[in-house]
């Protein structure tokens, strides 16, 4: 094996991004050092990532982090460790940026993990402690740093595994390549971890259909759905990751395409929709960039299953189909549904109706149940009919 050449294999966008991130980190921590040298208690002031400090911005239709801040003082025994971890993670990311690396959050966990041997002054015994023991500790301070310097981790060239896929009649530029998303054969284009660096070239589509389940995406793609209906087809393959969310948001913002989300008919599916639309509750600081307030919940809705006398809507399923396809809701489902009901953005008339049917019937349904009824039904009846008649929830 031999190296092919000695040129840089890195794309131009990455090189630019590194410079920007380095500067931001240095600025934030210089102030801290100045404080220490002048005898002031070193304190990090970071906006709180708590549920209480998560605000639903009704006007913009997304969650965002509020203004409440936490002061993390190094001289407080309860906060000293978190303070140390924050400085530690910042210094590691700083170093990776300088060295042209693309760490993952798992890498950062390993890079920062080391053992402190210290003497317990009360007993005189020497004990050991790790800077962190579990990745969730380092993940937490990475998020603190994102808030502190107001930058998403992707902008610091931190990569992560990526599940989102896309096909459709569109061309994009990623890195130094132009990719034609309509020429993927039976396969699909796997979205990069840093979709902000993607450039949209031209698009020939009328809407975006985001599907929770990869297998349903495969079926629709194979059957030629996007060609037939001029759509961009995206799957999040479950709970969407950050890149997929950012990609969808940009399709909405920059291309003005309507976004339809198709999930299982259960609180978990609703939550996936909610994450696309308003953002994640626990990570509200991301939403300004990742949420797509215009996203529409296409289905599968409880009314699609059970019909509605009030709305004069017949169900898409017969009694017998319901009997075989419906799954009994678990206690966790019920609990989650009740929780959703308390969120401001679910407290619309249409959503409350949806959740209440669920709580009453205690039943859920997978998208697969519709493809079981017939792929043609899903592709040529259910989806087009719902979009045409505006039968979705905003």
């Amino acid at each position: 094996m031999r190296e092919v050449s000695t040129v840089s294999y890195m794309s131009a966008v990455d090189i630019k991004a590194r410079k920007k991130a380095l500067k931001k980190i240095e600025r934030a921590f210089s102030k801290l050092v100045k404080d220490i040298l002048s005898g002031k208690t070193p304190t990090l002031v970071i906006r709180k990532r708590t549920l209480a400090n998560t605000v639903f911005d009704a006007e913009r239709g997304l969650l965002r982090i509020g203004n409440a801040t936490l002061k993390r003082s190094f001289l407080n025994a309860g906060e000293a460790k978190k303070f140390m971890q924050t400085v530690l993670i910042a210094s590691i990311i700083h170093e990776a940026l300088k060295n042209d690396e693309y760490p993952t959050i798992r890498d950062l966990y390993y890079r920062g993990k080391h053992t402190i041997r210290f003497r317990d002054l009360a007993t005189g015994r020497v004990r050991e402690e790790n800077t962190w023991d579990e990745q969730k500790e380092s993940d937490s301070v990475i998020r603190d740093l994102e808030v502190l310097i107001d930058m998403l981790r992707e902008e610091m060239l931190i990569l992560s595994k990526e599940k989102g896929k896309v096909v459709g009649d569109m061309r994009i530029k990623s890195g130094d390549d132009i990719i034609d998303l309509s020429k993927m054969g039976h396969g699909a284009y796997s979205i990069e971890p840093t979709p902000d660096f993607i450039e949209f070239k031209d698009v020939n589509a009328e809407f975006v259909l985001v599907i929770e389940k990869d297998a349903v995406f495969q079926q629709l793609h194979r059957a030629g759905f996007w060609k037939k209906y001029k759509a961009l087809l995206i799957t999040s393959a479950g709970q969407p990751d950050r890149a997929t969310r950012r990609f969808v948001r940009r399709l909405s913002d920059e291309l003005g395409l309507p976004i339809y989300i198709l999930t299982d008919a259960d609180p978990y599916g609703w939550y996936i929709y909610s994450v696309f639309k308003v953002g994640s509750i626990t990570l509200s600081y991301e939403s300004e960039r990742l949420a797509t307030p215009s996203a529409r919940f296409l289905g599968v809705s409880m009314i699609d299953i059970f019909g509605s006398d009030k709305l004069k809507k017949k169900p898409y399923l017969t009694e017998a189909e319901r009997k075989n396809y419906i799954i009994k809701a678990t206690d966790t489902d019920i609990k989650r549904a009740k929780e959703l009901k308390s969120y401001e953005w679910f407290r619309t008339k249409r959503w409350l109706e949806e959740i209440n049917i669920f709580l009453k019937k205690k039943a859920k349904l997978e998208i697969e149940a519709l493809t079981s009824k017939g792929l043609r039904f899903l592709m040529d009846t259910y989806i087009p009919e719902k979009i045409e008649t505006g039968d979705w929830i905003a």
């Binding site: 240095e26 040298l37 208690t41 070193p42 025994a77 910042a90 402190i116 041997r117 210290f118 009360a122």
Partner: protein
Amino acid sequence: MASEATAEKFRALTPSEFFYRNRELAGFSNPARALYQAVRELVENALDATDPHGIHPTIKVILQKVSAERDNIFSISVEDNGIGIPSAQVPRAFGQLLYSSKYVLRQTRGMFGLGAKMAVLYGQMTTGRSVEVLTSTITAKNIYYFNIAIDVKTNTPIIHEKGVYRKNNGWHGTVVKLYLEGDWTRSKSKIYEYLKRTAIIAPYAEIVFEDPEGTITYFERSTRKMPPPPREVKPHPKGVDIEMMRMMLKATKTKTLLEFLIKEFQSVGEVTARRLIENAGLLPDMKPHELSTEDVERLVRVIKSDTKIKPPSANHLSYVGEEIIKVGLKAILKPEFVTAVTRKPSVYEGHAFIVEAGLAYGGEIQPEDRPVLYRYANKIPLLYDEGADVARKVVDRIDWSHYGVTFPAPLVILVHICSTKVPYKGVGKESVADVPEVEHEIELAIREVARRLKRYLSKKKREREEAERAVAIAKYIPDVARGLAKIVNNVREEMIEKELLKMLNMKLRSFKINSVSDVVVGIE
């Protein structure tokens, strides 16, 4: 009909025959239990012959196998330095059931007053051998020797042998020796546990025990302080039922009902007596033996429902006292911390009682998953049926974490109830029933000693905490200094380290950290 009907034969049993047939009632149910019970009865008699009379007990207990071939026959000898038994009383005291000095209203250790006699009877039926007694009272000029058996059919003593010896020294006390079938292997741990707990509650006693294996255990006297002796008192009116009232009315030498009530009862003065008589619809100058059955019933009922009679006196109760309990726990358990409390007297159903509690923590005590409980009633250790005892219930109910204890913990609780009438739960008299008044007192006593433990533990904890807080910060100084020095240009790691330590030290009250390396030994 009834062609098979047979005539029944009626006959009377003497008390000795009855208990001979039902020996398990007094704890002599099998060889293991009998050996334990015999030791216990004789030791308790020995203590009752000493401490209530102001004598510091010195007790020798010797348990021996009688012969090598028959390893289930034992001799028990118990010697005390007590007040001795008048020679005229000795035969009946050891050879007649239901004959005792303990049938008075005063707190004594015995269970039913059956004591030594049951041991004698059990010995007699299993080995055929009689009891030997050597005794002398304080004022006697002689020492008396008796060899006595019980005539079971008639419940009378048979004196096999009697001897009188001139006393040269001032010795007084009693030595009892008897023979019985026993099971040492299965009773060993209970006998040792019994003696240990006796030594805890009576640290003013000196107890020597030689067991059948020849091992000698010496519980030394750890204090000369003794609890106040109990005294005999008149009955409290609330503790008297119809039958007893009738017997008292029959036996009294007083002339009128008024005089009877005032003189034969405690807590009854003239005002009270007149009120009771009037409420019962009687007359003050009725002759006591003239009251009809209905009169007596009414009088007792009026007394029970009267709310103004003074509570009973606790003069006759012999509590152990905080000082002695602490000495006992300290001497035997060697704990790190010890405390005790004696509660004020209280009353249930007309009976006075006192609760005492002791607590020992740490030191040589082994940690257990819950508090170890030592229960006593009238200074007798209770070893069986702990699960059913109200004290166990109280101890288990208490949330010990509230007092700074998390289990496993080295914690021993002692609870002592003294009363002329301890409310036992079962007929075995091994556990105390959950009478609300008693339960309440036990809880107050235990919570008091628990609070004292908490104060002790809190102080210890506070001192540890400041040091922990300082370390919790100092140990991170090197990582913070290095991290910042890496990010920020032109700053030396050592400089940041120095400044951070200076700030930390300014916050500490009781000590300073000279160098970060005193805390951080290494970073790997």
